[in-house]
Subunit: 335 residues, 2 copies
DNA sequence: AGGGGATACGCAAACGTTTGCGAATGCAGG
DNA sequence: CCTGCATTCGCAAACGTTTGCGTATCCCCT
């Protein structure tokens, strides 16, 4: 059986309340007794019971984190950033991978508030689907910070990168290099990032005089295999674009594999740029030019904002991070 | 304020115990009343309080997971495998990234038992360091399953891949292709996998008549940058090995980058094989031959074993997974 | 109609903490 | 020595559930 405060108390012939005060560093207990209690607790191997503490004090030292896909290094690194903030404060992270599934997200959310998390960090799968649940949770007084993706209806805290600017940088670069026919491998579905990146690509194309035919817009979920398929399809068209934007780090893997299998040379036969810079872009042959985000930094900021909301009841803040372009060797010059 | 069972009870003029029974599907409450209670709970937006439940019932529906590095896809995928088992059972995962730091691991462990996790899944940073804590936790009755790495002293449950066999397969392949001089980029420190892989490489070398000079053994932590350094050092030696084993997926990134920067051709100038097959190996130029593990499967098995321990008090089991060799194009033939 | 068993519900204790309050003890100053 | 205040500690309630037990009610059968 597990050792409790009561056991320590009865062993020392004092009251549990005294033990509690001693161990939690509260005043009202003599130094002599306190030291004796601390020593005994150590000796008996006492671990405080957070469930009891949480019940009594109302906070649990636990934060809920929702990400769409844990095996995507982007989100993994974001979580690492959060850890960096929360670990020193003695907080634990409950991590839920929603697998890009709204119902699963909803179920996870319910579980998390049942676990009495003190705050929520979420990259929602859907830019609308679960807004009622989020709203309800917010109304319960649980602070929420969105990261990477957000739900536009809800005026909650968020930290995202400037997707519009990222796409614009990418396309202006391509334009400068003479590209006028652009294909896009996009994230399927109602995901926030997929939608805004596609939309601003189309807007920017308009502005720059770049052509994006309907059949040059392919999509897939965030996996290698679907991106592979999309790439094969696009490049088997009769008239092909001269450059392709791949809107997601994992999809870049599939695209690269497809290009290799098709024996299509980058950048000679087709140029390639990516959104997000994961481990591999710089090591591919050729190294891929892309828009780099800093997921760890993003997680860090999101965590700080959440902390602010928990402790100081800070009002919701929307943060937008600048994306920066990295030039490598995956884009040809068309004259 | 948050809605409780008591509030529902008083609103309906019944006793809290009845509400509890109704909501948890226990017998002893009429269908009519049960339905009324459920409807009211839904209307009031009731969320069960897991901390209170945990306190009263003694279990919290929470599992603790310890990994050395969340941004390593290997561990991320293992966690995904665990999620696959635990999500359908209504369990939550508390994820701790120890950052390959023993003291941090110890602190995390203490917090986790304080959170009253029902079980522990851990890839310990150290093949010995925190064994006393693990032992104590096990003595408290909290089931533990190690994965990927283990602590040999402790006869607890574990699931690891057959590192010896993996290394042997790799080296026999190199040997068949005529390689007799082998370098190793290894995981530094007292990590389980690093140690056993190096040891079995040396043993196998002995057996096959392969030479591994002391200066051909380089190490680093599990990052690109240190592997980069190690690779540069090894290849600036006067007499170089003809083939290199890279013992870790992230380190492969650094090695590849170094080779490219040094303009060393694989496999013409030096051959390369890796332990663990992450996203990128098959897309590099050339594609890298390697020993593939299945981290998701590993996580899945570890989770199942833990569940068995929790529900059926299963005795500790040691599971060893076969690794399988994937031949690609990174090894030359020496005649 | 009466008896008996099943069913439906209430009562209260318990899980391990924290905390306001009161009581006892200590000490210092007059 | 007495008053008064500060310090140290114990008492008991409270957090939101669950659950064993007791009692009242219902239904069914003879």
């Amino acid at each position: 059986m597990r050792v409790t405060i009561k056991q320590i108390a009865s062993k020392l012939g004092v009251n549990p309340s005294t033990v509690s005060r001693a161990l939690s560093g509260k005043s009202g207990v003599s130094d002599r007794l306190r030291e004796k209690i601390v020593r005994e607790a150590l000796k008996m191997g006492y671990f405080p019971d957070m469930t009891a503490m949480g019940l009594r004090k109302g906070h649990t030292k636990v934060i809920g984190v929702l990400i769409p896909d844990i095996s995507n290094p982007f989100f993994a690194q974001a979580v690492r950033g959060m850890e960096k903030i929360f670990y020193p404060m003695g907080y634990q992270l409950i991590l839920c991978s929603t697998e890009e599934n709204s119902e699963r997200e909803a179920a996870n959310l319910r579980m998390l508030v049942s676990q009495r998390v003190e705050g929520l960090l979420s990259a929602p799968v859907d830019s609308g689907g679960n807004s009622v649940i989020y709203r309800k949770i917010h109304a319960e007084g649980i602070p929420i910070v969105f990261f990477d993706r957000l739900i536009p209806d809800l005026k909650l805290s968020s930290v995202i990168t400037d997707n519009e600017q990222g796409i614009r940088d990418l396309m202006e670069y391509l334009h400068r290099r003479g590209h006028r026919k652009l294909g896009i491998i996009n994230l399927r579905g109602r995901s926030f990032t997929g939608k805004v990146r596609l939309r601003s690509a189309i807007e920017t194309a308009e502005k720059l005089g770049i052509e994006i035919r309907q059949e040059w817009i392919k999509d897939g979920n965030s996996t290698q295999s679907e991106a592979y398929e999309a790439t094969v399809q696009m490049l088997s068209l009769e008239s092909k674009p001269t450059a392709i934007i791949v809107n997601n780090n994992l999809m870049m893997l599939g695209t690269m594999k497809a290009l290799r299998d098709l024996k299509i040379n980058v950048p000679k036969d087709v140029s390639l740029v990516g959104f997000d810079d994961s481990y591999w872009n710089q090591i591919f042959d050729p190294p891929i030019s892309c828009i780099a985000q800093d997921p760890e930094q993003m997680g860090l900021i999101a965590a700080t904002m959440l902390l602010d909301a928990i402790f100081h009841h800070a009002k919701p803040v929307q943060t937008v991070l600048k994306a920066h372009f990295i030039e490598r060797e995956s884009v040809s010059v068309i004259s």
